[in-house]
């Protein structure tokens, strides 16, 4: 729980900063068009605004994720470093390094690297799929 809280705290600015300009550029016309066509505010948000925010939300998520993977300072402060409970991989790596267990540290790092790669790849694919309606396919 503490880990999640810390990551939200660190990652949120990235998400906000990437969504904000898109939201500001959106203008009132789309919402008005939806309203005239009978859509309620909730429906307008879900069907019109949210899909348009998907690309910047993904970007924000990717940035926040990249930041979170390597983060340990804030987690140690907020959640302590309780073994088997709020222990995190980056900290484990540091611990292993300090104990001169280079192989184990490297193994952990490779797992992290692979995980990050897969996640970022997934985000990129999602974004490509999302961009289908922007330019010429």
């Amino acid at each position: 729980m503490g880990v999640v809280l810390a990551m939200v705290f660190v990652g949120l600015p990235f998400a906000v900063r990437s969504v904000q300009p898109v939201l500001m550029e959106l203008g009132p016309e789309l919402e008005e068009a939806a309203a005239v066509l009978g859509a309620s505010r909730l429906r307008t948000f879900l069907r019109v605004i949210l899909p348009l925010l998907a690309p910047p939300l993904l970007t924000g998520f990717a940035l926040a994720f990249a930041r979170a993977v390597g983060e340990y300072g804030s987690i140690v402060f907020i959640s302590g470093n309780m073994p088997n409970h709020t222990e995190i991989v980056p900290l484990l790596i540091v611990t292993k390094l300090e104990q001169f267990q280079y192989q184990q540290a490297t193994a952990l790092a490779v797992v992290m690297l692979a995980g990050s790669l897969v996640t970022l790849l997934a985000v990129n694919l999602l974004q490509a799929w999302n961009r289908r309606w922007t330019g010429h396919a």
Partner: protein, 357 residues
């Protein structure tokens, strides 16, 4: 579905003059009524109040005799077409057109049938699966029309629908809109600043300036008998000559024109005359006697505009007048720049300005 606008007033700021002040007009059922005026004249605000996107400070809007002021925008059932298209970019053309039907929770087969019908109507049958970003401006606006028309609106509101398109596409779409309207006879309110568009499409024109309605009438009435100098100069081109009343006649340039009886001397007047209503002849060929209705001047510039030639004249009194001469007549006269001419201002209309006692 006639629309009556009664005493509509709207201010966006307490300091500035109202954006719309006591607007009254009726849009007849089955016709195209155009709100025409320069930008900032309040025409779009009236349209937005009718649509329900803006609320009036005073006054009301009646649709088929029913006051729609308390009805929220979602429940009005009107179609609105935006100048900026305002299409949903993440949806295909088909999904855009279906949006209004989906909010009504219509059965899927009905939606599909109606969307296909609309795509045919706007000549975009093959483009249903494209995204708006892949269409040209004219095609996008046709999607805008299809989206607005799909839920069978009671009233079609058009906010400068052709304003963002280039001239050729604008003319094409205007023609298309006219045919569409002839086929459907859907009551339509059009906002535009393009007087040619207004004269071409409208059954009734509401001319606005600075938040006030200047004149309401058919295109012919507006053009032939403008009720204010503003209307005269905004619809078509016009020469405006200023002068004063003296000895019961308006003295404008070197002319003496009739004014309504009992207009006091010294009252400011303006004479309006259309460039193509002015007859011109060469000075000093005997038959051109300077009368009450003719003025002498010199041609300062000639511009060939194809069908007619535009002559800028400097009158002897210092006033400038623009004259349009039909090509055939121009060829017959054989005028040259710098020449002295006589112009006949027979058709000038005199407007007596409001004066404060």
């Amino acid at each position: 579905m006639s629309v009556q606008v009664e005493d509509l007033t709207k201010s966006f700021s307490t300091k500035a003059a109202p954006t719309v002040f006591q607007a009254n007009f009726e849009a007849p059922s089955g016709g195209i009524t155009t709100l025409l005026g320069p930008s900032g004249s309040g025409k779009t605000t009236i349209l937005r109040i009718i649509a329900g996107l803006e609320s009036a400070d005073a006054g009301r809007v009646l649709v088929a005799g029913e006051d729609i002021t308390p009805v929220p925008v979602q429940k009005r059932g009107f179609g609105l077409v935006f100048q900026s298209f305002a299409l949903f970019g993440h949806m295909t053309v088909r999904e855009n057109v279906a949006f209004g039907l989906r909010t009504q929770r219509a059965p899927k087969d009905q939606i599909d049938a109606r969307v296909a019908e609309l795509l045919k109507l706007v000549q975009l049958e093959g483009h249903g699966d494209r995204y708006p970003g892949q269409l040209s401006g004219g095609q996008r606006q046709r999607v805008g029309f299809a989206r607005a028309l799909a839920p069978r609106p009671r009233l079609l509101l058009l906010d400068e629908p052709f304003g963002a398109l280039d001239t050729r596409v604008r003319l094409e779409l205007r023609e298309w809109l006219r045919l569409l309207h002839e086929a459907t006879h859907l009551t339509t309110i059009l906002v535009t600043h393009d007087q040619e568009e207004a004269l071409d499409l409208s059954d009734r024109i509401v001319v606005m300036d600075a938040g006030r309605i200047q004149q309401v009438g058919s295109p012919n009435e507006i053009y032939q008998s403008p009720s204010t100098p503003f209307v005269a100069s905004f619809i078509g081109s016009a020469n405006v000559l200023s002068g004063r009343v003296s000895a019961g006649h308006a003295q404008v340039a070197s002319l003496s024109l009739d004014v309504p009886a009992n207009t006091p001397d010294g009252t400011a007047v303006r004479a309006i005359v259309r460039p193509h209503d002015i007859r011109i002849e060469r000075a000093g060929n005997g038959n051109g006697v300077c009368s009450r209705r003719t003025a002498a001047g010199r041609i300062s510039r000639m511009v060939n505009l194809g069908a007619h030639v535009k002559l800028d004249l400097a009158l002897t009194t210092g006033d400038a007048v623009t004259v349009h001469v039909a090509r055939r007549e121009y060829d017959g006269l054989g005028l040259v720049a710098g020449e002295s001419v006589l112009v006949d201002l027979e058709s000038a209309r005199v407007f007596v300005e409001d004066y404060v006692i």
